[in-house]
């Protein structure tokens, strides 16, 4: 596994990105735009599940509204993230913050997908259950953002 990652890191694309401050900055900005769309969408969905905003609208309507933005944000974040990762992947996979971020990302993604699909199918659950789901979703997605920041800033 490590030799595969080392080969990725040594590839032409990875070294080009790693050596270019301009490319790294542009990709970082794109990554931030992606996360704004993704986390912003999940934020409103979570707040609606917690019963804090737009209570007059059905949960299914509010949580399905940002679907396209969330998907676009996720794709943009993952694509830019992979490109940003390539030049430093062998160090990253051994970094605790990065490992945490990846675990949280997978858990958050699976959790949100499951919860939002249930709601879209009309299987909402009790208000208490929705509130718990909202809080958990918030914690997971902001956890991804925080661990990502920690990974980059405390390298």
């Amino acid at each position: 596994m490590l030799t595969f990652l080392a080969r990725v890191q040594a590839s032409g694309l990875a070294t080009t990105i790693g050596q270019s401050q301009m490319l790294t900055s542009v990709l970082s900005s794109v990554h931030l735009i992606g996360l704004t769309l993704l986390v912003g969408g999940m934020l409103v969905s979570s707040l609606r599940l917690m019963g804090v905003v737009l209570k007059s609208r059905p949960a299914s309507e509010v949580t399905s509204a940002p679907r396209r933005a969330v998907v676009v944000g996720l794709c943009v974040s993952v694509a830019s993230g992979l490109l940003l990762l390539a030049p430093r992947v062998t160090n990253a996979v051994q970094n605790g913050f990065f490992q945490l971020k990846m675990i949280l990302l997978v858990v958050a993604g699976l959790f949100s997908f499951t919860v939002l699909r249930q709601i879209a199918q009309g299987r909402e659950g009790s208000p208490f259950q929705m509130r718990v789901e909202g809080v958990l979703g918030l914690l997971l997605w902001f956890g991804v953002v925080l661990s990502g920041a920690a990974f980059i800033l405390l390298e």
């Binding site: 900055s25 931030l32 769309l37 912003g40 509204a65 953002v145 800033l153």
Partner: protein, 145 residues
């Protein structure tokens, strides 16, 4: 006192020195700044989607505004505070940096865009509050932002 002199002075203040030299200060501020971005800009994207008539068409514009924008304003406040603190540590470098100047200009323009929307475009809101697709000036405001 020129702007550059002011930046040099700011960097020498206790706050500026703390931001630049503390191990935790800078990363913590940046992390909070980014979370503030997700909240503020993320919420504004939602309101813009409503203004464009692309999303949540069942809700009146003013309802979406009143429910979501307080969160956006909170996010903007967090970004302003953390951004200012971050600036105190890097004022001189930011002054000379083209990208920061572009960012600062864009922020000002975004503020002007919001101001124009609130003072001019929003006045007719009683006519199109319920509309699934608000009139062109409102949609333009969302697009410009």
């Amino acid at each position: 006192m020129s702007l550059l002199n002011f930046c040099t002075w700011v960097e020498g203040t206790p706050i500026g020195l703390f931001v630049r030299e503390s191990l935790w200060g800078f990363p913590t501020l940046v992390a909070i700044h980014i979370m503030g971005l997700a909240v503020s800009a993320g919420m504004v994207v939602w309101f813009d989607l409503r203004l464009l008539g692309w999303s949540m068409r069942g809700s009146p514009v003013s309802v979406v505004y009143r429910q979501l924008m307080p969160w956006a304003f909170g996010g903007f406040f967090v970004m302003f505070v953390t951004g200012s603190l971050l600036l105190t540590g890097a004022a001189v470098a930011a002054y000379g940096n083209l990208y920061f100047r572009v960012k600062a200009s864009a922020l000002v323009l975004a503020g002007v865009n919001a101001l124009v929307y609130h003072t001019v475009t929003e006045r007719g809101i009683r006519d199109w509050n319920e509309a699934a697709r608000p009139p062109l000036p409102a949609r333009l405001a969302a697009g410009r932002y």
